[in-house]
């Protein structure tokens, strides 16, 4: 049975109708038409569906929508400023051409934002640890590590 929920996504409150156990990912993608989080495994194994829940990176493919109604949800789109300018992490990924097919890019950027929030100066080992939930099949890992390293330089001159 569908119920009505109020969700706080990217700083705005949205009302959605969904069965309470619907994974958050489907609501974000199909109802709110947000393209950042991707369907990758539905098993919380690959990180393609990462979103920020109260600032922490979390897969959205299994967590029921009923469980996040009091949380602040941020997707790739929500990282951008109102005027369309990019978050520093988005900027370094764009500048470093840090993608091939780009399907994992959402998980990479969201996880990197959460990592830098927690640890503004991660060393390489901390970056690897902080990013390990996100899989990339094209093999862009070196670029991702370098992008995050350059973000630490940008945000902490």
């Amino acid at each position: 049975m569908k119920e009505t929920f109020s969700l706080k996504v990217n700083g705005q409150t949205h009302t959605v109708e969904a069965e309470p156990d619907t994974p958050l990912l489907y609501v974000l993608r199909n109802q709110l038409e947000l393209n950042g989080p991707k369907f990758g495994c539905g098993l919380e194994q690959c990180g393609a569906c990462m979103v920020l829940l109260d600032g922490k990176a979390n897969p959205s493919c299994r967590i029921p929508v009923v469980g996040v109604k009091d949380m602040s949800i941020t997707t790739l789109k929500g990282l951008m400023q109102q005027d369309g300018s990019l978050h520093p992490v988005q900027q370094v990924f764009e500048k470093g051409q840090t993608a091939q097919c780009g399907y994992c890019l959402n998980g990479m950027i969201i996880s990197a934002v959460a990592l830098l929030e927690e640890n503004p100066q991660p060393d390489e080992a901390a970056i690897r640890e902080g990013m390990q939930r996100v899989l990339c099949r094209c093999g862009t890992h070196t670029r991702v590590i370098r992008a995050i390293q350059s973000a630490t330089e940008t945000t902490n001159p």
């Binding site: 049975m1 969904a18 069965e19 619907t22 994974p23 489907y26 993608r29 199909n30 038409e33 947000l34 393209n35 950042g36 991707k38 369907f39 990758g40 495994c41 539905g42 098993l43 194994q45 690959c46 393609a48 997707t75 790739l76 789109k77 951008m80 990019l86 988005q90 990924f93 764009e94 051409q97 840090t98 993608a99 091939q100 097919c101 780009g102 399907y103 994992c104 890019l105 959402n106 950027i109 970056i127 690897r128 640890e129 990013m131 390990q132 939930r133 996100v134 899989l135 990339c136 099949r137 094209c138 093999g139 862009t140 890992h141 070196t142 670029r143 991702v144 590590i145």
Partner: protein, 730 residues
């Protein structure tokens, strides 16, 4: 870089149905069936010689470029746009690239085999160069002057005094350039290049970082419905019964359950309902017993025992004696493992079937589909849309067919089929397992005198190619289409002949039909063959008492091959291996006729646990003329990391029933703590033909790692993947 891409524009470009089927003429033949007229023009262009097949001038002066290829993450759109912008001396922003679409773009067969630059981008180069000539000629006529007194740049033709100007649109007056491109077309001198050979950033990456709609998964149509397919319990199992009543009790929003033989699909209002419906049908469907897979058997013995078609690839006398060095190698089944499981969308309306797919072969897929859906090819329109990276023939075609069948059964609505992760892992066509048995004799000077390779492989292509028997779902219909016994066998002995001086070479290939579904995986047989050859080269070097890299150079004649190895030597010169560490090298020229690539790997082996930690990898690539150096680097870096994951982690496992590697826990691939930092150097050869670089790093990376493991711990692992258990021998 600013992105101005909007959702509306995405739907307009990608979702629209206002397709002019007559825009493009001469697209009836698939590239595979077309006569092989190979003049001086690139292959795709000789089959589609008209300028307007490749580019058209829009009224606002922008240039629309048509490619018969699809974006796979290799950045082909950017490379194609660079070519057009260069020859037309215009800004990149003026170029819009239209990816493969039946009836609209040229039919370029498959986006595969590192062929997109060689065929598509080169065709666009020639077509744009000739368009330049034609635009100048027509402008000259209009302005009453001669073409050599005019300049063409930034979408305009101007007289040399700048007094008179005509835009491209003004020159053409609504016409397009229908002339055929001659082989004699004059290309822009390379010294004047502004775009080609430069690391032009990919505009699509700007869309991706913003989460703008880009992928097939991002297509949303009004009233679109969601579907999933329930796969059998085993390859050969038949559907006996299922309980639709229970399904409808437990899941709301079920619009239709479609059964056709053993094909079972369910269409629902929303995506979660489809996921739940699939789960419930999976639990209540009953399937027939299927013949058992050889799970639990020794796979090498099993594969070698299968009936085989044999082919003598190279013939020579080979005599083994007590000094002969022999070694046997094995590569398991490996999966493509796209991060986004396959997705297909279809709409059946007014007798026309429209399909959206990220298949590598949009035209060949269209040509395979008519019998399956009961329509003529003319009534099937397929539009290529980027998807998750696929690395070969994965299940994308199958998802498109699933969507097509369900859309035929539920007309008037866009039906979106999403494969589950478990089904993607379990049902995609894998890269086949291979066995390679090598033997060689050295002469008195420690040089290779005779060499023998015997290899066993399944097919490396069961792509649609107009044959419905190659479409997964078609096997399970009430009136099924049989799977062909043997697909493309040439991929099995790709790179089986060493690219070294070998006076006597004998190579035999045996093609079996193995237990698992297989097709093309990045580099085909080259990965396994080079793993064997380049491991064996190190073993031979040791027997000859030579340094491995020097031993390769001793047997090399091609200066370009020598150059990549020397460059690699230079890059790794300062590296020293500490306790438990090893540095290994390997080289190959992809297909023995395409890009040259040498790879070094540095790693550490834990003496107690046998755990292997990758540290660094270096790659040197010569892909001839480089169109986009950052794109080539990106592809090569990625190839090295992907290959390292294949080599150290990956193996598709199965039991008697079916594949048991069904998710990322049971089929682990590299994660961040596992990956080496990689560094790539390009040897650019602007005056040489472009060779295509997307697959060159796969093969040498594997042997470089195995050679490094040997150096680190003294264990020669010939049976992939290289795991700690094999190192500790426990």
């Amino acid at each position: 870089m600013k992105s101005t891409y909007t959702r509306r524009k995405f739907l307009r470009d990608t979702g629209g149905l206002t397709v002019a089927f007559t825009l493009f003429s001469g697209c009836g033949l698939s590239a595979e069936k077309a006569p092989a007229v190979e003049g001086e023009l690139p292959g795709s262009l000789s089959r589609n010689p008209k300028v307007n097949a490749w580019l058209q001038i829009l009224e606002d002066g922008r240039v629309h470029v048509y490619t018969g290829k699809i974006e796979l993450g290799q950045g082909i759109r950017t490379a194609v746009a660079q070519m057009a912008a260069e020859e037309l001396s215009t800004d990149m922003d003026m170029i819009e690239v239209h990816l493969v679409e039946t009836g609209v773009t040229p039919d370029e067969g498959y986006t595969a085999g590192s062929g997109s630059i060689i065929n598509s981008a080169m065709s666009v180069r020639y077509a744009a160069a000739y368009a330049r000539t034609l635009l100048l000629e027509r402008a000259a006529k209009k302005l009453g002057t001669s073409a050599d007194k005019l300049t063409l740049a930034d979408g305009e033709v101007a007289t040399s005094d700048g007094q008179q100007k005509l835009t491209f649109a003004e020159i053409l007056d609504g016409e397009q350039l229908e002339e055929e491109v001659p082989a004699s077309v004059t290309l822009k001198p390379k010294k004047d290049y502004q775009w080609v050979g430069k690391p032009i950033p990919r505009p699509d990456i700007s869309q991706m970082v913003r989460g703008e709609p880009f992928y097939i998964q991002d297509l949303r149509f009004p009233g679109m419905v969601y579907a999933r397919v329930v796969r059998p319990s085993a390859y050969q199992a038949e559907l006996l019964e299922f309980d639709e009543a229970v399904l409808k009790q437990q899941v709301s929003g079920v619009l239709k359950v479609v059964r056709n033989g053993s094909f079972l699909g369910v269409i629902t209002e929303d995506e979660y309902q489809a996921e739940k419906a699939q789960r419930i049908l999976q639990s209540n469907a009953k399937w027939s017993e299927a013949s058992a897979l050889p799970g639990g058997l020794d796979l090498v013995d099993h594969l070698k025992s299968l009936p085989a078609n044999s082919e003598a690839v190279e013939e020579a006398d080979f005599q083994a004696d007590e000094n002969t060095l022999k070694a046997n190698y094995f590569k398991p089944y490996i999966m493509h493992g796209a991060i986004g499981p396959s997705c297909g969308i279809a709409l059946y309306e007014d007798g026309q079937l429209h399909v959206w797919s990220n298949s590598q072969g949009i035209y060949p897929l269209r040509n395979a589909m008519p019998e399956v859906v009961g329509l003529t090819a003319e009534n099937i329109h397929i539009k290529g849309v980027p998807g998750s990276g696929c690395y070969g023939h994965n299940a994308s075609d199958d998802a498109a067919v699933d969507a097509a069948l369900l859309a035929m059964a539920y007309p008037g609505k866009h039906v979106r089929v999403q494969w589950s992760r478990e089904d993607e892992h379990g049902w995609e066509p894998f890269g086949t397992a291979m066995v390679m048995e090598l033997a060689a004799n050295l002469d008195a000077n420690g040089k290779i005198a005779t060499w023998r390779t015997e290899l066993w492989s399944d097919s490396h292509s069961t792509r649609p190619s107009g044959d419905p028997g190659n479409l997964l779902t078609a096997h399970y219909l009430k009136n099924p289409f049989a799977k062909k016994s043997y697909g493309y066998s040439g991929g099995g002995y790709r790179n089986s002949q060493p690219y070294y001086t070998v006076p006597q070479l004998k190579v035999d290939a045996h093609f079996f039909e193995g237990p698992l579904r297989v097709s093309s995986l990045r580099s085909l047989g080259a990965y396994a063959n080079i793993f064997a050859i380049e491991s064996f080269m190190d073993e031979l070097a040791e027997k000859a008492g030579k340094d491995p890299l020097e031993f390769r150079l001793m047997h090399s004649e091609d200066p370009r091959g020598i150059a990549v190895m020397k460059k690699l030597q230079e890059m790794t010169q300062g590296q020293s291996a500490g306790e438990g560490e090893g540095l290994g090298y390997a080289f190959s020229r992809y297909k023995n006729s395409a890009s040259y690539c040498a790879v070094a790997a540095k790693l550490k082996v834990d003496s107690g646990s046998g755990k292997i930690q990758m540290q660094r990898m270096w790659g040197v690539i010569d892909a001839g003329e480089t169109i986009n150096p950052d794109g080539l680097k990106n592809q090569t870096e990625g190839g090295m990391i992907q290959s390292a994951s294949w080599t150290l982690r990956e193996e598709v496992l199965f039991n008697e029933q079916h594949v048991t590697s069904r998710n990322w826990d049971t089929y682990p691939i590299f994660r961040f703590p596992d990956v080496p930092l990689v560094e790539v150097a390009i040897i650019d050869r602007p005056e040489e033909p472009a060779l295509g670089g997307g697959e060159a790093a796969q093969a040498p990376s594997s042997a470089a790692i195995a050679n490094a493991v040997y150096r680190a711990c003294g264990k020669r692992i010939r049976h992939l993947p290289v795991t700690p258990e094999k190192i500790t021998g426990s």
